[in-house]
Amino acid sequence: MMILSDVISQTIIFAVPLLLVALGGMFSERSGIINIALEGIMIVGALFGCLALQLFNGADQLCTIAPQMAVLIAILISALSGAVFALLLAFASINLKADQTIGGTALNMLAPAFAIVLTWSIQGQGQTTILIPTWTRITEDALGLKSTGGFFGNLIFKSFYITTPIAFLILILAIIVLYKTKFGLRLRSCGEHPQAADSVGINVYRMRYAGVFISGVLGGIGGLAYTIAAGSGFQSGVAGYGFLALAVMIFGNWNPIRILGAALFFALFKIIGSYSYSIPFLPKFTGIKNADYIYLMLPYIVTMIVLALTSKKSRAPKAEGIPYDKGAR
């Protein structure tokens, strides 16, 4: 039973960054901009978020008075830095009408290099790891509860970070914004048929800037959420989660609820991979060397199969990837 609660809580903690970043990618693509740069945005967001956490870390710092407040501020900082970084993509692909895939790839290459330079200049040469302070986790003590350690204690508190409820709120917000507001309708129309949108007086450039900006905000938060969840410190990378999030977004068919499902699905298979030895009923493949890699490959294999089966129904925004040119009709 303890293993079950472990698997559930770990699944949620790793689904959170995937969900956030995939939602970010969705906003960008729904406005018509392919955002390959999610990985880079995550790295930049995580970088500045972790630097902020370091800033608040210390005996007389904010972390002793209100640790979760410090985490919240770090989240805001990573959102902001992610957004600024994403604006580089927006500028290149909207104003300069550059190829969006190449622009995004360039940003992905820029981000880790930039992170190393900045980490070194702050922490000293060779100090590549920014450690995550332990007070970022919400414990039972912090809430004034007694440590129970049972199934539910383990389920909720073993890896509970403020990013989890925030991600849930953002998901609800994303659904409302995308489907229930004027802004959402306009954003979607820019991704489907920007010429038509323009003909009724919608500023396509502004909507696309907004889409990329939102994806930067969510990508930045997702980067910090991932780094906190992984718990091993920030090392100028997010282990390909930005690209995984892209797959989650496509798998989720650019739809928030389905993206939630896809993120949970991915995270679950990932955790099963890591827990393959601890889950009693899974076959162990004892005859094969390094059999645990079979389980580690699972999320990717299953995604390929599912994508192959569902790709007929996949509905990408029609105008994504095409720079909007006012003159072309």
């Binding site: 303890m2 293993i3 472990d6 770990q10 790793f14 600024v84 604006l87 580089l88 500028f91 104003n95 820029l110 290099a113 930039f114 330079v117 070194w120 200049s121 040469q125 060779g126 100090q127 590549t128 790891t129 450690l131 995550i132 332990t134 986790r137 383990n154 073993k158 890896s159 450039y205 800037y209 991932y226 969840a229 992984a230 718990g231 091993s232 410190g233 090392q235 282990a239 990932k270 955790i271 991979g273 890591s274 827990y275 030895y277 601890s278 390094n290 059999a291 645990d292 580690l296």
Partner: protein, 361 residues
């Protein structure tokens, strides 16, 4: 509005480029560095192998007013390591310190290319890629460690302290890591025999295959801790970050490796140390006394308890055992030092023990 925004963004781009340029210039602004360290794949802040050696280099260089620098290969390959050694020598290195068995082939090539440069190879002996020819030239001095002794002491201490469910998390299964691991198993077994609870003691044993922390390793360790594992011997560069992250969440313990890692996390109860810093300092001292040539060039030193080059940290802040005392530790350590207690250093087959070892992966 649009123009303003584009202006700001353009400026930001230029600024980014400028910042990265100036940073690079600072690094490149160099004269010559006499004493060089080339890292294997990790970095000098790995709180482990590279860092231990680097601290030895800096300590000796600072005490004696010698210029020093470190270089990191661009990728994990022998070609990249040879190239980086060349870079170090181009920048004036007369002595090159190479921590790690990964340098064995690179040094085999470099010892002939640069006969006037002195190499210190830690944890390995130069050989060809197919292991057919072993040759250590007179400008190379090799140091190996008896990791099995350090691992033994850690395993012995943990079981004597009352831990019953242990774990071993290795990095890559390279000889040094395997010796640590098998030593750990033997030490735990010996203590269990002494306490008469061999049936209750069990060890989970796994190599992560990398020296870098990942979320997969952390998740795996979280699983071990949930299954009841009380303490994990994390053995390999940066992977301890994953182990301590999992231990902190679960309220369990970790044993550190190579250097005293007690300050890294409250969960670290002890560290299986090898005297990297110490032996680098001593070797460099001998070198400079002997007018810049290795006094025992072309040979390999195997350092262990007898030379005080392995052990557990006994400082009060680092000794976090509850019942296992420093006196008990000294007793075992001394018998190891005298040679009455021998530990197998075989790496090809797992040691035969009476405790249950679950080899995973």
């Amino acid at each position: 509005m649009k123009k303003l925004l584009s202006l700001v963004l353009a400026l930001a781009t230029i600024l980014c480029v400028l910042v990265s340029c100036t940073k690079k210039n600072n690094q490149a602004a160099s004269d010559t560095y006499e004493l060089a360290l080339v890292t294997d794949v990790g970095n000098i802040d790995d709180k482990s192998f590279n860092q231990g050696a680097w601290e030895g280099v800096t300590a000796y260089a600072k005490d004696n007013g010698i210029t020093y620098a470190y270089y990191r290969p661009s990728e994990d390959s022998t070609a990249a390591r040879v190239e980086t050694i060349g870079t170090a020598i181009d920048k004036g290195a007369k002595v090159v310190v190479c921590p790690g068995y990964l340098f064995e082939e690179a040094i085999y090539q470099a010892q002939n290319t640069y006969p006037n440069v002195q190499f210190l190879l830690l944890d390995g002996e130069p050989h060809t890629a197919d292991y057919s020819v072993y040759k250590t030239a007179s400008n190379v001095y090799c140091i190996l460690y008896k990791e099995e002794q350090a691992g033994y002491l850690a395993g012995y201490g943990a079981v004597m302290d009352g831990y019953k469910k242990l774990g071993f998390l290795g990095g890559m299964a390279v000889p040094a890591v395997v010796r640590y691991g098998y030593g750990f198993v033997q030490g735990a077994d010996a203590a269990a025999k002494e306490l008469g609870n061999s049936k209750d003691v069990s060890i989970k044993y796994w190599y992560s295959g990398s020296f870098a922390p990942t979320d997969d390793i952390k998740t795996k360790m979280a699983g071990w801790y949930t299954e009841g594992t009380e303490v994990v011997f994390s053995c390999g560069g940066g992977v301890y970050l994953s182990a301590t992250a999992a231990a902190e969440a679960a309220g369990k313990k970790v044993i550190g490796v190579d250097v005293d890692q007690a300050s890294q996390s409250k969960t670290i109860i002890t560290s299986a140390m090898k005297g990297l810093t110490q032996s680098v300092k001593i070797a460099l001292g001998e070198l400079y006394k002997n007018s810049g040539k290795w006094p025992k060039g072309g040979t390999t030193a195997v350092l262990g308890a007898a030379e005080d080059c392995v052990g557990l940290p006994t400082a009060k802040d680092s000794w976090r055992f509850k019942t296992f005392t420093v006196d008990q530790y000294t007793k075992v350590f001394d018998s190891m030092k005298k040679g009455t207690l021998k530990i197998s250093n075989a790496t090809d087959t797992a040691p035969k023990v009476s405790v249950k070892v679950d080899y995973q992966g």
